[in-house]
C-alpha cells in the first residue's frame, strides 16, 4: 500500500484522544489547555479544521462517553438530552416528537440529512452559530445546559450561554454535558418555525415560541421567544415576551410582540436577506409560530 505522507500537506496536525468518561475528558482538557478542543459530531469543527480556521493540537473525541448519549424523559415530564445526542435522533425520537415537538422541529431542519446524522445538540450549542435552529427552540422551552468543570457542575439558561459570534461562556477546561428541558406548566405550547431560501440553509429567520395560557385560556400568562439569524448570537426576545404577558390572546397581541421583537433584534444584511427584510420576517414568523404554539397550548 502506498505511503500516505505526500498527500497530507498541512504542517499542523492534531492528535486524537478518546476519553471514556466526562472526568477523563476534563482531565485531558486541563492537561492540554487551550490547544485541546472537544469534538462532538464534527459537523462544524471539521469545516474550521479543513480550512485552517481552527488548529487544535489535541482533538478530544467524545463519542465513547456513554453519559453524553442519553436521551431521557423525566418522571415530571421534562427531558434530559445528553450533549452527544444527534439532531437526527432528536428529530425522529417519538419521545421528543410528542413531548417536545418544538425541539424535534428545530432538529429536523438543521442543514441536511447527512449532517443531522452526525451533528449533535451539544456541538450545535457550543459552536454558537447565530443562525442555528436548536438554540432558539431551546430558549423558547426555557431549557438549561449542564456544564461540567473540574470543580463540579453548573447549570445555565440556554439564553445565557452565548457570549458573542461563535463564542460561548463554556470555559476551555469545561464541557457542556447535557441539556435539561423543564416539564411544561399546564396550558403550555411551543413551536419552532424557520424561514430560509433552500431546504438546507441556515435560518434567514428562525423563531422558537413558547407560551403559557392563564387559567381563563384567553390571556397570555407567560411567553418565551428565541430568535435565530437576527443577531451576533441566538437571541432571547425579552421585550416581545413582556409585551405579551398579561395580554389577551388576540392577533393584535401577537402583532405587537412581533413588532417588539423586530425592534430589539439586530439582523445582518447579506446576500440572502437585508436587515429590513429580516425584521419584517421576524414579525411574520412570530405570528405563525405563535399560532402553532397556541394550538398546542390549547390541546394541553
Amino acid at each position: 500500500m502506498a505511503e500516505p505522507a505526500d498527500s497530507y500537506e498541512e504542517a499542523q496536525r492534531a492528535a486524537y484522544l478518546a476519553p471514556e468518561s466526562v472526568e477523563e475528558a476534563l482531565a485531558l482538557l486541563a492537561e492540554h489547555g487551550e490547544g485541546a478542543k472537544p469534538i462532538a459530531g464534527g459537523q462544524s469543527l471539521l469545516i474550521l479544521l479543513r480550512w485552517g480556521l481552527a488548529a487544535p493540537t489535541y482533538l478530544i473525541g467524545l463519542k465513547r462517553i456513554p453519559e453524553l448519549t442519553r436521551l431521557t424523559a423525566t418522571p415530571e415530564g421534562g427531558l434530559i438530552v445528553g450533549a452527544m445526542v444527534t439532531e437526527h435522533a432528536l428529530a425522529t425520537s417519538p419521545v421528543v416528537q410528542t413531548g417536545c415537538p418544538a425541539l424535534a422541529e428545530a432538529a429536523a431542519v438543521v442543514a441536511s440529512p447527512p449532517v443531522r446524522r452526525q451533528a449533535t445538540i451539544g456541538g450545535n450549542l457550543c459552536h454558537a452559530d447565530p443562525a442555528a435552529d436548536p438554540p432558539a427552540a431551546l430558549i423558547a422551552l426555557g431549557a438549561e445546559v449542564e456544564i461540567a468543570g473540574r470543580a463540579g457542575r453548573r447549570r445555565l439558561a440556554v439564553s445565557a450561554l452565548f457570549r458573542g459570534f461563535l463564542e460561548t461562556t463554556v470555559g476551555p477546561d469545561e464541557l457542556l454535558v447535557a441539556v435539561h428541558i423543564p416539564p411544561p406548566p399546564p396550558r403550555t405550547g411551543a413551536a419552532y418555525l424557520k424561514h430560509r431560501v433552500r431546504g438546507v440553509d441556515y435560518a434567514l429567520v428562525g423563531v422558537g415560541f413558547g407560551l403559557t395560557l392563564a387559567e381563563d385560556g384567553r390571556t397570555f400568562a407567560d411567553a418565551r421567544i428565541g430568535l435565530a439569524g437576527v443577531g451576533d448570537t441566538p437571541l432571547r426576545a425579552s421585550q416581545a415576551e413582556s409585551v405579551l404577558r398579561g395580554q389577551p390572546v388576540t392577533a393584535e397581541s401577537l402583532q405587537a410582540a412581533g413588532e417588539a421583537a423586530a425592534e430589539e433584534c439586530h439582523p445582518p444584511s447579506d446576500t440572502e436577506g437585508s436587515e429590513w427584510y429580516r425584521r419584517e420576517m421576524v414579525k411574520v414568523f412570530i405570528r405563525r409560530a405563535g399560532q402553532v404554539a397556541l394550538a398546542r397550548a390549547r390541546q394541553e
Binding site: 500500500m1 497530507y8 464534527g42 473525541g61 440529512p113 447527512p114 438546507v200
Partner: protein, 154 residues
C-alpha cells in the same frame, strides 16, 4: 488505523486528524467519493456509515473505525448493479457524474430505512446533494423507480 470498507478490513497509515474523504481517495484509491466543497454543502463526498448517509469530508477517519463504511465502489454485488444504480442509468439520472456517487448513496440510505418512500421523502433525502446538470427530476424518478422495483407489491 483499520477501516471496514465495502465488506473488507483495510489497514491504513494516516494522521489522527485525517478526513475520511482523503483517506478513501488518496490512501485507498477509492475515488468514487468526490471532494467538492469541503464544508458539508454539496454532498459529493457522501458515503454510508452503518447504512446511513454521512459526509466523508466531515468525518474523521479515526472515528469511522468500528463502523461499516460503504462507498459507491462497494454497492454493486457480484457484478450486478444495485437497483438504485440501475435505475439511475435507465432513467437518465446521470450527466457529468460528479454528484452521482453521493446521490446514489443518499438514495440507498433512504431505501434502507424506507423501502417505499413518497416523492417528498426522496426529495428530502437528496436535499444534501447538489446536482448542477440534471435539474433533479430524473434523479427523483430513478429513486422512485428503484423503490418500486425492490419494495415488492404493496
Amino acid at each position: 488505523m483499520t477501516l471496514h470498507i465495502n465488506g473488507k478490513s483495510r489497514r491504513v497509515r494516516a494522521p489522527a486528524d485525517a478526513f475520511l474523504v482523503d483517506v478513501l481517495r488518496d490512501d485507498l484509491a477509492l475515488t468514487g467519493a468526490k471532494f467538492g466543497c469541503g464544508m458539508g454543502e454539496c454532498g459529493a463526498c457522501t458515503v454510508l456509515l452503518d447504512g446511513a448517509a454521512v459526509f466523508s469530508c466531515l468525518t474523521l477517519a479515526v472515528e469511522a473505525q468500528g463502523h461499516e463504511i460503504t462507498t459507491i465502489e462497494g454497492l454493486a454485488r457480484d457484478g450486478e448493479l444495485d437497483p438504485v444504480q440501475q435505475a439511475f442509468a435507465e432513467a437518465g439520472g446521470v450527466q457529468c457524474g460528479f454528484c452521482t456517487p453521493g446521490m446514489v448513496l443518499s438514495a440507498r440510505a433512504l431505501l434502507n430505512e424506507h423501502p417505499d418512500p413518497s416523492e417528498a421523502d426522496v426529495r428530502l433525502a437528496l436535499s444534501g446533494n447538489l446536482c448542477r446538470c440534471t435539474g433533479y427530476g430524473k434523479i427523483v424518478e430513478a429513486v422512485l423507480a428503484a423503490a418500486r422495483k425492490t419494495s415488492g407489491p404493496s
